[in-house]
C-alpha cells in the first residue's frame, strides 16, 4: 500500500517501535511514536534523559546503533511528488538521503569530529558526496577562464584537465577515472577540485560566523574550542542544504554564552536555508527560545504535542505539567517529580507515567491511553481526555 504525505508536511513518523536486544532483556525504547514535521518548522522534542529522544532522531536518519532494531512503523519523507518510506529503502538510497536531505548535529561536537582529519577534509567529504557536480562545474568554469590566457603547453594541460572534469561530472564512477586518480603526478588534476572544495568550506565557515575561517579550515579538531567545533559540525550538517536538520542536544555540552550564540546561529540559518529542524533537548528554556511546536516524550511515548505557546501556557498532560513545575524559578517552590524514570526493560503497564502521576486513575494502570486531539493541533495521550 502506497503511503502518502501532505504537501505541507516534510516528515511523518507513524507508529514507530524500536527495541534494543540486550543480554538483560528486550528494552522497548520507542513504543509507538508518531510525529509530524511541517515544512520549515522547528519541532522541539523534549523529555528526560533516556526517554528515547535521541533514538527517535537516530531512527529518522536510520542509524539506530545495534543492538537496537526498528521493529515496525513508517517514516515518510516528502520527496516532491511522492513520499519515501525511509525504513523501506536500500543502503544506497539511504546514503544519498543522509547528509543531503536529512543531516544531523550531535551532542558532543568533539566526538563527532574525527581527530585525525582537518576541518576541510571532514566538511569537504559531504560536499564531495552530494555536491560533486556543482564543484566540478566550478572547476570547469575556472578552466574556461584560464585556457585563452595560457601558453601552448599549459593550454594542452588545461584541455586535458577539462576533459577529465567533464568526465567526472558525467560519469563519476567510471573505471578509467578511478585508475587515473591513483597514478602519481597525473592525479595532480584533483588539486583543482580540492581547491574549489576548500573555498566552499571557507565560505561555509564564514556563514557559521567562525572568525578567521581561512586558518580554521586547515585545523584539526583538537585545535578547536568547543563552540568552534560545534559550528564546524553544524557547517558539516548544513553543507548540502538539507531539508531536515536533526539537532540532538547541540548545545548541551557548551557553556551558557556559547550556547546562546549557537542557538542564535541555528535560528538564523533556519530562516536563511528554509530547513526544518527537529530539535532534541531536555532544556525547556531552549525550547521556548527556538521551537514552533513541541513534542513531549516520556519513556518511549510522545505524551503531548502542541505549539510552544500552548505547551507553556496550557500544559495538558500531567507529565508536561509536572515537568514545567520542576523548572527552578526564583521565588517559587521547587517541585520535583516523585519516583524515577522507569527502566524500559519492564515498562509499567497501561500508561507508562501512571506510577508517578498525581492524577492516576485505576484504568491508567491497565489500559494504554489513546491519543486525543483536545484542540486543533494539540494532541495528548492521557485517559483524562476523551477522543
Amino acid at each position: 500500500m502506497e503511503k502518502t504525505i501532505e504537501s505541507g508536511d516534510l516528515l511523518d513518523v507513524k507508529d514507530l517501535y524500536v527495541n534494543f536486544y540486550t543480554y538483560a532483556g528486550v528494552v522497548e525504547a520507542i513504543d509507538g511514536v508518531s510525529l509530524l514535521l511541517k515544512q520549515g518548522e522547528t519541532l522541539g522534542l523534549v523529555g528526560e534523559t533516556g526517554c528515547g529522544k535521541s533514538v527517535t532522531s537516530l531512527s529518522i536518519i536510520v542509524l539506530v546503533p545495534p543492538p537496537g532494531t526498528i521493529e515496525k512503523g513508517d517514516i515518510l519523507l516528502n520527496a516532491g511528488d511522492k513520499a519515501i518510506n525511509l525504513l523501506k529503502q536500500n543502503d544506497r538510497t539511504l546514503m544519498n538521503i543522509r547528509g543531503k536531505d536529512i543531516s544531523m548535529v550531535f551532542q558532543d561536537p568533539r566526538g563527532a569530529l574525527n581527530p585525525v582529519y582537518t576541518v576541510t577534509q571532514q566538511v569537504g567529504e559531504a560536499l564531495l558526496l552530494h555536491r560533486r557536480e556543482e564543484m566540478c562545474k566550478r572547476v570547469l568554469q575556472n578552466l574556461e577562464r584560464d585556457i585563452p590566457e595560457a601558453n601552448t603547453l599549459k593550454r594542452f594541460i588545461y584541455n586535458c584537465e577539462k576533459k577529465i572534469y567533464e568526465k567526472m561530472m558525467n560519469k563519476p564512477k567510471s573505471p578509467s577515472l578511478r585508475t587515473l586518480s591513483k597514478i602519481p603526478i597525473i592525479n595532480r588534476y584533483q588539486g583543482r577540485l580540492r581547491n574549489e572544495i576548500r573555498k566552499e568550506v571557507v565560505e561555509l565557515l564564514r556563514i557559521m560566523k567562525i572568525a578567521d575561517p581561512e586558518r580554521v579550515v586547515d585545523m584539526y579538531p583538537h585545535e578547536l574550542s568547543g563552540g568552534m567545533a560545534q559550528r564546524v559540525v553544524i557547517a558539516m550538517a548544513l553543507s548540502c542544504n538539507p531539508r531536515l536538520l536533526l539537532a540532538d542536544e547541540p548545545t548541551t555540552n557548551l557553556d551558557v554564552t556559547i550556547q546562546a550564540q549557537i542557538l542564535l546561529l541555528i535560528r538564523e540559518l533556519k530562516e536563511k536555508m528554509k530547513s526544518s529542524i527537529l530539535y532534541v533537548t531536555h532544556d525547556l528554556g531552549v525550547v521556548a527560545e527556538i521551537c514552533d511546536r513541541v513534542a513531549v516524550m516520556y519513556a518511549g511515548n510522545v505524551v503531548e504535542v502542541a505549539d510552544t505557546f500552548t505547551i507553556f501556557k496550557k500544559p495538558s498532560h500531567p507529565y508536561t505539567q509536572d515537568l514545567l513545575a520542576a523548572i527552578p524559578r526564583p521565588g517559587k517552590e521547587f517541585k520535583s517529580i516523585r519516583g524515577e524514570v522507569p527502566a524500559l526493560i519492564s515498562p509499567p503497564k497501561g500508561c507508562r507515567y501512571h506510577p508517578r502521576c498525581s492524577k492516576a486513575m485505576p484504568t491508567c494502570a491497565l489500559v494504554k491511553p489513546q491519543v486525543a486531539e483536545i484542540e486543533k493541533g494539540h494532541l495528548v495521550m492521557c485517559h483524562l481526555y476523551k477522543r
Binding site: 581527530p115 585525525v116 567529504e125 558526496l129
Partner: protein, 345 residues
C-alpha cells in the same frame, strides 16, 4: 608544516639517544678487567703475547672518560673490534656479511605480519560476533600459543623430513654453488634480488621457497598478536561519535571503516609493528638456528656461547641498540603522520 618541524626535532633527539645507548653499553663492559677488554682489539696470536701494548695503545687503563672517548672514536671509524671465534676478522665486516640473510627474512616477514594482522583484525572487528570473527579469534589464540621454535621444528619435520619439499638453509646445494661461481654477481647478497638481477629466475624461486618455512614460523605468533590488538582497537574506534557522524554524512560502510575507523585504530598497532620488525631485524635467534640460516641471530647466539667472544657480543649489542633507536624514530614519525595531535608534543 607541523610535520616537518616534528621530524627535524625527532632527528635531533636521535643524537643524545644514540650517545646514551653507547654510554650504557660502554659502562656494562667496564665490569671486565683491562686485560679482558683488550681482547676486543686482538687480531692475531702474536698480539696475545703482548697484551700490555694493546692496553697501552687503546688507553684501557686510563680514566673512564678517556676510555670512552677512545672507544667511541674507534667505533665511529668502523672498528668494532675483532672476532676471535669463527668467523674471525673484523666484527663490522662479519655483521655486514651476516645481515643480508636476516634482511631478506625480515623484508618478507614484516609486511606479512603487519598487513595480514591489520586486515584480519579489521575484518574480525567489523564482523564482530559473526562466524568469521570467531574463527579469527580462535585461530589467533592458537597461533599465539605456538612457540616459534616448536612450529619451526614441526614445519621442518613435515616439509623436509616427511615430504622432502624444501630443506633448511638459504638455497639448495646446487644453487648455493651456482651463486658463488662467476659470472653470477652478488650485487646485493639478497638471493631473491640477485637472482632477478642476474636473470636467473630459478635462484629467486629457490630462495623464496626456502623462505616460506622460516617466515611462517616467525609470523604466526606476531600476526596473532597484531590481530588481537587491531581488533580491540578497531572495536573501540567503531563506537566513537565520529563514526555515526560519518555515516550521517552519507558515507558508505567501506569508507567509514577504511577512512574513519581504521586510521584511528592503527595508532596502538604502529608501536607493536615497529617493535616486532626491529626484533626480526636484529635476528631471530631460534628460527635462524633451526633453519640454519647464516643471519645475525645465529651470529649473536654463536658469539654469546661460552667462551663468549666479547667483541662479537659487544658489536651485536651496539648494532641492536642503534637499530632500535632508528626503528623508534620511524614509529614516532608514523605516529605523527597518522595522528596530528602527536605533532604538537
Amino acid at each position: 608544516m607541523g610535520m616537518r618541524a616534528y621530524i627535524i626535532r625527532r632527528l635531533l633527539l636521535l643524537i643524545p639517544t644514540i650517545i646514551g645507548v653507547t654510554l650504557l653499553i660502554f659502562s656494562v663492559v667496564q665490569v671486565l678487567s683491562p686485560e679482558q677488554r683488550a681482547a676486543l682489539y686482538i687480531t692475531s696470536e702474536q698480539q696475545a703475547d703482548d697484551i700490555d701494548a694493546i692496553i697501552e695503545k687503546y688507553h684501557l687503563r686510563d680514566p673512564v672518560y678517556i676510555q670512552y672517548f677512545v672507544w667511541i672514536t674507534q667505533v665511529l671509524q668502523g672498528n668494532l673490534g675483532y672476532n676471535v671465534k669463527s668467523p674471525s676478522g673484523r666484527v663490522l665486516q662479519n655483521i655486514i656479511n651476516r645481515a643480508p640473510a636476516t634482511i631478506e627474512l625480515t623484508i618478507i616477514a614484516a609486511p606479512v605480519i603487519i598487513l595480514s594482522g591489520i586486515a584480519l583484525g579489521v575484518t574480525s572487528a567489523v564482523h564482530r560476533d559473526k562466524l568469521i570473527d570467531h574463527v579469527t579469534r580462535v585461530t589467533s589464540i592458537i597461533g599465539w600459543s605456538f612457540p616459534s621454535f616448536w612450529l619451526g621444528i614441526l614445519l621442518l619435520a613435515i616439509f623436509y623430513a616427511a615430504l622432502g619439499w624444501v630443506g633448511p638453509g638459504r638455497l639448495n646445494p646446487d644453487a648455493s654453488v651456482f651463486i658463488i661461481t662467476p659470472p653470477f654477481t652478488r650485487y646485493t647478497k639478497l638471493n631473491t634480488i640477485d637472482g632477478l638481477l642476474n636473470g636467473q629466475l630459478w635462484i629467486t624461486v629457490d630462495a623464496l621457497k626456502h623462505l616460506i618455512l622460516p617466515v611462517a614460523s616467525l609470523t604466526v605468533q606476531s600476526i596473532a598478536l597484531i590481530v588481537r590488538v587491531m581488533r580491540s582497537s578497531m572495536l573501540e574506534a567503531l563506537t566513537k561519535g565520529y563514526i555515526v557522524s560519518a555515516r550521517a554524512k552519507g558515507l558508505g560502510q567501506k569508507e567509514v571503516i577504511n577512512k574513519h575507523a581504521r586510521r584511528n585504530a592503527l595508532i596502538p598497532v604502529v608501536t607493536l609493528a615497529g617493535m616486532l620488525s626491529a626484533g626480526l631485524l636484529t635476528g631471530v635467534v631460534i628460527t635462524e638456528t633451526i633453519f640454519s640460516i647464516p643471519g645475525l641471530g645465529s651470529y649473536a647466539a654463536h658469539m654469546a656461547l661460552p667462551p663468549p667472544d666479547i667483541a662479537g657480543v659487544l658489536g651485536f649489542t651496539l648494532f641492536t641498540g642503534v637499530l632500535f633507536v632508528i626503528v623508534n624514530l620511524i614509529v614516532d614519525v608514523a605516529y605523527a603522520y597518522i595522528d596530528p595531535r602527536i605533532r604538537l608534543g
